[in-house]
Symmetry: D2
């Protein structure tokens, strides 16, 4: 159960389907775990780009009536995470603009590392910025490009930005999908059942609308979707993959494939690798649901220690604003997670979670398990210590709030009151994802950022 | 009762009060008759410009919590009317921008007649437009101006725009109030009870916050508000007043003074003038509430015919989406207006309304009065026939939907099934507002637009 | 502007119309000024009684979908006022019950003075009470009556209750309308345009649905509506009318006729009578809107002093929960009422209101007028001093909170800071309503309650 | 994933805690899986019984403000399931009544089999019924009992009712907990951390508020809670246990203990038993989440076949009212459940679910798995075929809609398009719950109802 690192966004594009905006809508449902604070869709009908966006869940923002106004056979959609207090809290995507070539809408998953520099340069030249999203840079770059055609301008624009970006551009007649040279964030291409294409942050969106996975959009690749022609692939940048390994650790849905591999399988691998490190005698392996489930299954299979649902996740609650009574400790965790006292009483248990961010939730979970009668609680984390913030599209706390950047594993173990604590090491993590080269970004565990 | 011409906006600015955004909030309540579809406030605290805006009534958009985040001693606010189906339906003001001089927010009441031309020119030069509000032109013009200081850039910008504008600009430390050379839309200056200034579309906002009226911002005048200095007046344009006479006819609140005169008194004058035209023998003078009340009082005083509330306005209803039964005619009008059968039965009545736009409402009212027993219904309109659309900030139907642009008064009289119909003529209208020269815009009655 | 005495309810019954519940729905809209806290409708389709009720405005409680479930050609409806903190705050009507004769629903406007005694007796015999509405007594009395037929049981029941009641009973096939012997609360009978009947608290409901007034249900009369027969009138009690005179003073809508007379005309009469008492030299007569409007018109006609809308009522506001700033005095009144400064400045004005309950609102209004420049403010009240609470269906403050029960008129005048204060005396009030005998209840002015 | 049999209610009682209603509130959160359509709490402060109840989730019905009004150290709470179209859809509990001994509130989990007979008898004697809940019978029986004391009346009342009932009675000073002689529905007793008691439908409520399990309220037992005395146990009926075995199969939360045993362990036992029946060669065991998880874990442990999360439950969605496109089959299931294509592709899988009610959901799940590439799908159900409706407090479809009452297992297998289908047999089920005698009700599998 983690509340402190969050994928910032998801994107989806539909090309060549007469109910494009409806397919985008359902796809956003599937992608909503990547951002629940705002949602939006732009569609293009050949003549005009229509946009609806607002704060709130996908199902709140859209209804049968306003979806109907999003006409056309092409659509791009976006769901968005935002941090309270963030300047951009009210912003939503798609970003829409009228400019010299007509109308355009952009959706963006990622984070531009040179956003401020680019923005300042644009502002110097007289541009105005009306939102706090770095995506706004892109429409300026395209509008101000001296190239003639949109395609050339997009190329011009993406050559001026740095960082992580999985982008979809919508014009009145075309759609473009683009991924940065490192391929930080995932982006996959699929075929719709009756013709047409879908591009989405995760393949779980394909399953819901009945699309088939074709391949990932490649790092550095731009795909042009145009009526009457097959999608055209243009390699803008030489690919130097640095896939976000945290997608496997936590963000992506287990039923998705990202970066060419099953998320669920990869998580199971992490659990298996973890089982080989500092083994401990125990009666049960239990996950912190839902994040820890696949790794716990892998851990159990590898260690031979029985797997049990020792912690239940309660799905019926919403947020309560009622103050608990004095006696009610750790209510926030207990409203979501319940210990299975009958299973864990007097048992030595290994608890699997995907990561520890601030440590307070782990502490509460362990206390809850001990109060429920566990005789020993061994914490196993299916990723290395999270020591460094992310600059490539993930919302992370400041470095000083990351417990692993301030404490040793031993100290963390004491803080969370576990009987033992083991993290997965970087090498094992990379093995879990079948990394044969340096194609993954592990900066949040190592501080080694791509320059 | 009119539903077809609507003031598009109201603005308010507060300078030099530690609870500036709160005063802006209450002022917007008083100005909400000028636009109920969206509301917003930007405040400046010397370092940053904070903005909150959303669709909905003022009281829905703001709460104690979000108002608290609008810190600083300067604030500008806006309420907005929008037409369903309009491209700009989702837009709200203030328009905020980061640009080379920092941050700025603008609120605008009016309509720029050269907006498209200016926008196209800006777009040619690489500008992007993210909203459908002509106000967006202004921030571009300011950002792109080659002048160094904001003041000079504002002057530069307003020199490039045409049409009607009462504008407030907010920077991190200053506020600017500007009115077009014709002074189409009202804008008044007041002093706050404990120091500080207020600028607002109508003086009714002053009353609510306890401010005192100083004077109108003059046509063509720019007032600069800066800490530690008295407001500085700069005459940008030679004033050639063309005040919107419809403010007196309908838009402004009767407790406001606009263009230097009491709205209520002016409306009473219209009623008195009307009484002198084609007098008719009648038992009662009754207003269509609320718009017709002051003119009806004036008409009664002048004619000596007793004034009565022959039609009641029902305040308790909201919109109902329930379909009426077959027998229930004219429900939409009847939900809002009820005839006082006991008063009007067998009476010859003179009904005073401020204007006739499409004619259908008048027809329903007259039918309702006749069904309630009126023996004669003489319609008297306290303005000339509305024949032409407005391009200066009022939302009007297309010319072909304006009944007076397609029918003679006699035909209208037949259409609405009145026993007689008289409009106020232009000369009488101008007398009512004490016009001594050509200082009023009467284009909606005459089609004579300012070039 | 009064916030302290409130009509507790309104009822409506529709008989013999295939869209009975829809007509009830629209009628409740017209009657909503008599209670805005809850609404409900029961319909009968010959086999079953269907009920929907909830807290909130009529338009919030009902929608096209749930109205459709209220099938049948008979329906009774209710709107309800409730006081925060009142035990019955969650209760809504109709009161529905299954009992030995089948199913029944009751709506009630009034107050039973022997409710507690009756309830205690019923409880002694084993009855249970599930709500805090005295109406619940009635269903018990009917259910427990030893008579065989519903009609006889209703007669049996109403003979055991005392106080004020305008009641509608709905069985699966019939409707019954009943009014107490004093006829405290109004109840009128009308004919629907295409056949069928309507019974409602006020005739304004008739106008909205196109019904024609036939006559009042008489004090002590029971009317039986049954298919295939004309409404049958049964005189249960010898009528001894004591109509609530406050209906004329304040509660009823001016476009209604109650107790056989036009409410508006009666209010005008009060104004005329008032003009004859302690006349004062003044420049203007102005009403406190909306309550004081008809009396002010009457006062002006009688006195010859010009009538003006010196106070405007602001219709655009809702409740704001934002705390005003220190300088903003009397905000609560000012949000609703604005002084027309240009009209009242330096004028001696006579202000007409319908009543003074606690005195604080009057004080704020007078202060507001003086701050707006009135040189003299003479308060004239179109009813006698309200000295005593009502036990017949009106929500009144406790006697000690009624300013007139604690202060002389002179003291009240000083308290509200008026230059003079005059109430209408009881004799003049009775003349205004054309009372030729003792057929009105004036207990709230005299303390003389019917025993 | 089941949508067709639903526990009707949950109850909770708190005695002897100064924040009794707050503890009841949090307990209802934990019990909300037993009913999400309405919620309510009554509290007693020695003088009065206070009640708040409404439709909607617990967190919607209550807020800090209205909880504060529920004063006193005793409280009873209720959450409620209701079927759309049901007459009682608007009803909520607690049922409150004023009666000859004062005030009382009742909450009820169960179903009275002689409700109609009792009600008719009560109605014959003049009782009225204002709701459609059989619980209303009880307050009548208590009110009409000829006994003097409440305790004796409760005994008198429960002796007249038949069926399933776990009841809590609240008077102004006492609380009573009662369970029917068969103990159909669970009811457990616990001790609050700082003194005081809790009685709740499931022990998961204890965990949230920090209470310790003492024991179950026994079948036929009445426990009296009174200040200054230990809880007093009275055996009203000779216990003849017939615990609802479906609580183990599906209703109860896995972290609860009901009828003296861990729900989770019991479900695992069912899985183990199931693994011994008609074993099949397969690659994976996967649960239909969440219901099938514990049984699948048991099945995997017993069979040695690897356990995998082959179906993911999507927690982010809400209800969507948007119509899918033509190509989107089985959307309703797919919005909630996603197949893990990478895991199940080309695999022979055993799918574990807790029961099959109508068969349509199972059919969709199997189709989804096959489309995702499963080579064989063997359905295993951890309970016997559901052939008969429940009359003891569970909402079940009519017998003709239960697929197993109309088809043989072979036919069902064909209908759902599984490669094989096996149900748990009754003997194995009873073994799973350690039944040593006939202490369980299995009527929904056998049609053998207690007479």
């Amino acid at each position: 159960m983690r509340e402190n690192m969050n994928e910032k966004c998801a994107v989806v594009g539909i090309f060549g389907h007469k109910e494009a905006s409806k397919l985008a809508y359902f796809s956003l449902h599937a992608l909503q775990h990547r951002g629940q604070e705002a949602a939006g869709i732009s569609s293009a009908d050949g003549h005009k780009v229509h946009t609806i966006k607002d704060r709130g869940l996908v199902m709140k923002v859209f209804n049968e009536e306003n979806l109907r106004t999003l006409q056309g056979s092409t659509a791009v959609g976006h769901t968005r995470y935002s941090t309270a207090g963030d300047d951009s809290i009210l912003d939503a995507q798609p970003v829409f603009a009228r400019y010299d070539l007509g109308e355009m809408a952009i959706v963006h998953n990622g984070n531009l590392t040179n956003a401020e520099k680019v923005r300042n340069k644009l502002i110097e030249k007289g541009a105005i910025f009306q939102t706090f999203m770095d995506t706004e840079n892109l429409i300026h770059l395209i509008a101000k490009s001296t190239k003639g055609k949109l395609l050339d301008r997009i190329i011009d624009a993406v050559e001026r930005i740095e960082g992580a970006f999985s982008l979809l551009f919508l014009s009145r007649t075309k759609m473009f999908a683009m991924r940065d040279r490192h391929g930080f964030r995932p982006l996959s291409l699929g075929r719709l059942p009756n013709g047409g294409y879908i591009v989405a942050s995760e393949t779980c969106a394909f399953d819901l609308v009945g699309a088939n996975f074709i391949r990932d959009v490649e790092p550095g690749e731009l795909i042009v979707f145009e009526e009457g022609a097959a999608p055209q692939s243009i390699k803008i940048f030489k690919p130097t993959p640095k896939h976000c390994i945290f997608e496997y650790v936590y963000f992506a849905r287990p039923d998705s494939s990202v970066f060419g591999q099953s998320v669920y399988e990869t998580r199971k691998n992490m659990g298996k690798e973890l089982a080989r490190i500092e083994p401990v005698e125990a009666d049960l392996v239990i996950p912190v649901p839902d994040g820890g489930v696949p790794a716990a299954i892998g851990y159990a299979q590898e260690s031979g220690i029985p797997y049990e649902m020792g912690i239940m996740r309660n799905h019926y609650i919403g947020r309560t604003f009622i103050e608990p009574t004095q006696e009610m400790r750790d209510l926030k965790v207990k409203m979501k997670l319940s210990p299975m006292a009958d299973i864990i009483k007097n048992k030595r248990i290994i608890v699997i979670d995907d990561s520890i961010v601030r440590g307070t939730t782990s502490k509460r979970i362990i206390r809850m398990l001990k109060e429920a009668g566990a005789s020993e609680v061994h914490m196993r984390i299916s990723s290395p210590p999270t020591t460094d913030p992310c600059y490539y599209g993930v919302d992370t706390p400041d470095k000083e709030k990351l417990i692993a950047s301030n404490m040793s594993t031993k100290e963390i173990c004491e803080f969370i009151e576990a009987d033992s604590l083991t993290y997965l090491d970087e090498a094992s993590l990379l093995r879990s994802v079948n990394a044969t080269d340096e194609s993954y970004c592990t900066a949040c565990f190592t501080g080694k950022y791509i320059v």
